[in-house]
């Protein structure tokens, strides 16, 4: 057999001690469409970034056509024929569509860009069915779907030998996807290798020749398309259970407990559509689904970060209108939000641990003068103990803590306000297992004490083992509400991909 186009030999990569890929052997061949499947955090994106030259492996090597290649930058990777179209878009917003495409592989005449390059860019757009996009339009004026099309044209313009598509079609309509799939099949006939990442099983079914499954940073299995059933594939993706991580669930939450937060008919900017949900005192409610389906926007809408939200919000039975973070955190409303990105939104990294812990409570004290009876001080001390925060000195900057301990500080700073409803956005992302377990236990205890908890997570295990009820989002809507026995991995994954759930019907 001929040499594989690209081959990874025992490649490992970790971020700040958290492994993202462990000892991965992987290869892909010219003239094949190869789908990569796995849950969030399985290592798919890390794999793509390695191949695209965005990051370098800690160990192992990458061979291109049998020769070791050092992909030190996207430019280097492109030189080897590896072109990636990322879901995080690579368009320059202020440049025209034509300039955006042409600059990726400039050809010149007399030192100026060749006019023919623009004609080719036009031809490339037409080929993928983007006839409506003008070359002179600015990238920032385009819709998300149009930007994806330009990204695809831009990737094809570079004449890849290996084309990597990472959720490349997530915003496109069925019609456009068909056109693009035809183009991909044609490229395949010309001998281009295609790596295809998608969460949509029917897309993978439609186009993949070969499928690889990744889980927890490891390459689990590779097989030809059509040799495994969807259920078998989903089981491969889920893998072993992490049950020991999670605290025992209470028998069942009290269905008569008062509703703390009630959301009805909430919509925002086309990205939240008629969302209704509620959480009772003492409940942990999960918001599930693929990344970016509206869960985060719902959290922001409730906490008052978004403008122009329509629909009804009720807290403790009283309507909440025109909220803003400084208001929703007041004692009479009692909401607290642990944001998604602890480094930029949750903490002020250069400030000391002690100051960060006091930050959220500042607005509560009259005239901003810290209270003299040390009451809040004592409360913070108790919280630190309860969270078993590991630190050198409370006066050292928060940046010196590990990721897990930083997250504990974010949680503690909000608990210091004694909120009634705690909103958490993916609180365990990138955190080591023991700390995860501590956070889970804490959340369960808090719920038992009567706190209402809303947990947004992309980790299925977390939603299944910790939550009393899970709302699954897809395209800005809640497509499914799962409770009790319905909360199974296959049901959750199927709902996230908006598939009818055949698996759980038989379970």
């Amino acid at each position: 057999m001929a040499e594989s186009l690209v081959r990874l030999k025992s490649v490992s990569k970790s971020y700040g001690g958290v492994p993202a890929l462990t000892d991965v052997d992987f290869q892909c061949e010219a003239g094949l469409i190869h789908a990569i499947l796995g849950e969030n955090g399985a290592g798919k994106s890390t794999l793509m970034k390695l191949l695209a030259g965005v990051i370098q492996p800690d160990a192992g090597e990458i061979l291109v056509s049998g020769k070791a290649a050092r992909l030190t930058s996207p430019r280097e990777a492109t030189r080897h024929g590896m072109v990636c179209m990322f879901q995080e878009l690579s368009l320059m917003p202020h440049l025209s569509v034509g300039d955006n495409i042409v600059i990726s592989a400039p050809r010149t005449r007399l030192g100026l860009l060749h006019p023919a390059a623009y004609e080719q860019a036009r031809a490339m757009l037409d080929r993928i069915g983007a006839n409506g996009i003008s070359l002179s339009a600015r990238a920032s004026e385009l819709s998300l779907a149009e930007r994806q099309l330009v990204e695809i044209a831009k990737a094809l313009f570079r004449r890849p030998r290996l084309l990597i598509l990472d959720e490349a079609t997530s915003a496109l309509t069925r019609k456009h996807i068909e056109i693009i799939f035809d183009v991909l099949r044609e490229l395949k006939r010309q001998g281009v290798a295609i790596l295809f990442i998608s969460h949509r099983m029917h897309e993978v079914d439609a186009i993949a020749d070969r499928i690889s499954v990744f889980r927890n940073g490891r390459h689990i299995d590779t097989f030809n398309a059509g040799t495994r059933s969807p259920n078998e594939i989903i089981n491969l993706m889920i893998g072993r259970s992490l049950e020991e991580l999670f605290p025992a669930r209470d028998a069942s939450s009290d269905q008569n407990a008062p509703v703390v937060l009630n959301v009805s008919g909430l919509s925002w900017n086309g990205q939240l559509l008629d969302v209704s949900m509620h959480v009772r005192k003492g409940e942990i409610v999960g918001l599930g689904g693929l990344d970016g389906q509206g869960q985060q926007h719902l959290m922001h809408a409730v906490f008052g970060v978004l403008r122009g939200v329509s629909g009804r919000l009720e807290v403790n039975g009283r309507p909440l209108s025109g909220p803003s973070p400084s208001r929703t955190k007041q004692a009479d409303i009692g909401l607290a939000l642990v944001p998604e990105d602890r480094k930029t939104e949750g903490l002020i990294l250069d400030m000391s641990i002690a100051k960060n812990l006091r930050l959220a409570a500042l607005g509560r004290v009259p005239f901003g003068i810290l209270d003299s009876d040390n009451e809040s001080e004592a409360r913070i001390r108790r919280l630190i103990e309860r969270l078993s925060l590991t630190y050198g000195s409370l006066e050292s900057p928060v940046a010196t803590l590990s990721g897990g301990n930083q997250q504990k500080v974010v949680i503690a700073k909000w608990l210091a306000l004694s909120p009634r409803c705690l909103l958490l956005m993916d609180p365990t992302r990138g955190i080591d297992l023991p700390t995860k377990a501590q956070i889970y236990r804490l959340l369960r205890e808090l719920a038992r004490e009567g706190l209402a908890v809303i947990l947004q997570s992309t980790d299925y295990e977390e939603l299944i083992h910790l939550c009393d009820r899970v709302y699954v989002f897809y395209g800005g809507r809640i497509v499914s509400k799962l409770t009790g026995d319905q909360l199974t991995p296959s049901a959750l994954i199927a709902a996230s991909m908006n598939l009818p759930n055949s698996a759980s019907a038989h379970a």
Binding site: P74, R75, S90, M92, H94, R158, H300
Partner: protein, 320 residues
């Protein structure tokens, strides 16, 4: 029509300049004449070249506080070298341009390889460059070739030489900026450094080139100062630095990078010069002038920030 809409801010700026210029001519005691036009364009060319220098750095998302000092240094160097035979003067011009380019390159190296924020890096280099200028010529003095000065600061058949010079600069810059890989890459890096990197643009080299170009244009401004004043003065820097920043802001060049053109920079410079001339003739006390210049700048910034009103996620207001 769509061309007009896409360049809306530039269109507004040019319209504002036209109105200001009309008022200026109307109240000027000598009215529309070659003499008035020549003075006006000479003044505008001085700041216009400084603004183009600033433009290159702002384009790649920086800000250059050493524009003024570089103008002062190159002016001082010119006051030593622009004398004698045509060959000597040619050599002098090349040397002056080289000095400016090196100053710009030093800024670029500090920003790109030293990873220092542009405002801090250029504050430091600006101080050093000012020091060099003072060292070379502690007090104003020296002289330059008068024939060359006359040729560049008077008019040619009634058209100010400085206007022709600005036009040539714009024409020479247009194609390389918009249609060469390097020029386009500067816009790309300013628009989104990360996207440019992912696209395979050599981000560091492009930034270095932008800073070097900025230095070259500061040297051109320094040369032109020598043509207008006929001497070398190490103390002219500070006014040029701040006015060049004001000019690019007025000219619709986004301080967040990736947007704008040399034409905008020149129009912005002409607006600033016209405003200060208007104040001179309007009888306002000279000490009140900075207040009104600041006011105009503030209004321009408010106009430019209108886009923020439609932001629907408050978190985006904090991301810049």
């Amino acid at each position: 029509m769509s061309l007009l809409r896409r360049n809306r801010s530039l269109t507004i700026t040019i319209a504002a300049l036209t109105v200001l210029f009309a008022v200026f001519i109307a109240i000027h005691p000598r009215g529309f004449s070659t003499y008035v036009m020549t003075i006006w364009f000479n003044q505008g060319a001085l700041l216009g070249l400084a603004a183009i220098s600033q433009f290159f750095v702002v384009l790649v998302r920086g800000v250059d506080l050493s524009v003024g000092p570089t103008i002062a240094l190159t002016n001082v160097v010119a006051s030593y070298l622009l004398l004698g035979s045509p060959a000597a003067i040619t050599f002098g011009i090349i040397a002056v341009l080289l000095v400016g380019t090196l100053c710009g390159l030093a800024n670029g190296i500090a920003v790109v390889y030293g990873r220092i924020q542009p405002i801090v890096a250029t504050l430091a280099t600006g101080g050093m460059i000012s020091g060099l200028a003072l060292w070379l010529r502690p007090t104003p003095g020296g002289s330059v070739d008068e024939a060359l000065s006359d040729a560049l600061t008077y008019d040619i058949y009634g058209v100010p030489a400085s206007a022709i010079m600005l036009l040539v600069v714009l024409l020479v810059l247009h194609m390389p900026l918009r249609r060469s890989p390097l020029g386009l890459a500067m816009y790309a890096v300013g628009s989104s450094e990360q996207s440019a990197y992912m696209t395979g643009v050599r981000v560091r080299q492009v930034k270095l080139a932008a800073y070097a170009a900025s230095g070259t244009f500061a040297a051109l401004a320094g040369l032109y100062v020598s043509m207008v004043t006929l001497t070398g003065d190490p103390g002219i820097g500070p006014a040029y630095t701040l006015n060049s920043i004001a000019a690019v802001v007025l000219g619709g060049i986004a301080l967040s990078g990736g947007v704008g053109s040399p034409l905008g920079a020149i129009v912005g410079a002409l607006i600033l010069k016209t405003i200060s001339s208007l104040m001179f003739f309007s009888g306002l006390p000279p000490l009140a002038q900075p207040f009104f210049e600041g006011l105009v700048l503030a209004l321009a910034i408010v106009l430019g920030a209108f886009g923020m009103i439609n932001v629907r996620n408050r978190l985006e207001l904090f991301r810049q």
